[in-house]
Symmetry: C2
Subunit: 231 residues, 2 copies
């Protein structure tokens, strides 16, 4: 008992040596995080039971508390991982090239995130709805700066008449709202559409129209000089 409760990724040294496998407990740790993400996203922090997480991860409760010193500590790790996923996908909006193509790509990437990580999306949503007690600093720090930076590009586009005059921040809010809704409100969309295969019918079939509507709503124009096509 020495590596106990280390919230960092644990020692990744001596990787590749014959004897030391790629992190004995590292695999466990990841299984726990994955299970916790699912449970937290459905039940919220208080509703989630440590034992439920343990069962989903296929191990006794005690083992979960062996790797994470407390439920709260586990939650922090999970939510920060989710946040970094969010910011990462946000990361690169191709500000050069034509505006339409750039945003279209961005929206699609965001939509793919909702599709491939719906639990992460829901967990993030729950955090924010609860007042973002844990990630507030990140929102008013990193995220805010990121929006300001990209916002300047939007302003330029708007001056060139390539984008509708709308507060850049709110343009992002619109995009985020629409893309996240497909993960967060899946239950509602499922109920209303009666889709048999959500993934197929919603993301594959209908998403295209929605992206078009967003691009149209933001009044994005194809830059004259550009040659990239949206396929």
């Amino acid at each position: 008992m020495e590596a106990r409760h280390a919230n960092e990724p644990a020692r990744l040294d001596r990787i590749g040596t014959t004897t030391s496998n790629p992190g004995v407990g590292e695999r466990q740790r990841e299984r726990i995080i994955r299970a916790a993400t699912v449970v937290f996203s459905r039940k919220g922090y208080d509703g989630a039971r440590v034992e439920a997480i343990a069962r989903k991860a296929g191990m006794p409760k005690g083992n979960v508390l062996y790797y994470f010193k407390s439920k709260k500590a586990l939650y922090r790790v999970v939510i920060k991982q989710v946040l970094s996923l969010w910011l990462e996908a946000l990361g690169n909006v191709a500000v050069d090239g034509n505006p339409e193509e750039a945003i279209r790509q961005y929206v699609n990437r965001k939509l793919a995130l909702s599709r491939n990580h719906p639990e992460a999306s829901r967990l993030f949503a729950m955090e924010v709805i609860s007042g973002a007690p844990i990630i507030n600093d990140h929102l008013s720090g990193e995220l805010r700066r990121w929006v300001e930076e990209k916002g300047r590009v939007f302003k330029k586009w708007q001056e060139e008449g390539l984008m509708a005059k709308i507060d850049p921040a709110h343009a992002f809010f619109m995009i985020w709202a629409v893309t996240q809704t497909y993960a967060d409100f899946e239950a509602q969309i499922q109920a209303v559409t009666g889709a048999k295969d959500y993934d197929q019918e919603i993301y594959s079939d209908a998403a295209g129209e929605v992206v078009d509507a967003l691009v149209r709503g933001l009044g994005l124009k194809r830059d004259q000089g550009s040659s990239l096509q949206s396929a």
Copy 2:
């Protein structure tokens, strides 16, 4: 102890008689519901403490359980009230008159709902994110029928070239997503914009642009024969 645990609005008979005031405990009941809406919307079902609700309603815990036989029963009452608020605001989309004006009005009404009842919006969101365990039937029943009905009108508009070709259901999903985001993700929007006065800066100042963007995105045209103006 006879009217105990009656989940209905309780006897509203003999209203107006001198002696019987307008529902002695009826006022209490409403205070509890209002308090519960706030607490549930921030903490989720499991995170909400009965005692916290009681404190916010200004009475001891025992009193809350006197009016509602259990926490779960209280939750059901609260969430159903929220749902009816939702459906009520959904109720009338003026399908006659010009499409642009109709939707503009609808979006504005929905936005007002987020503004005036942010807790209700958040609670609704939490329910859905959790898989809508309680209101699922309503979603796949009432709401679904409502969307189908209004959807037919959208189809007609689309055939007349007054609206962009987009699955009507998804048009609604877009509208709901954008309008709800201002209530549900208030913490994020607050953090990113740094707004001093959320209500003013967001709803009064910025909302207009967003409504415009939505209308534009859905490709809504002003019907020729109509004379109504959007002010």
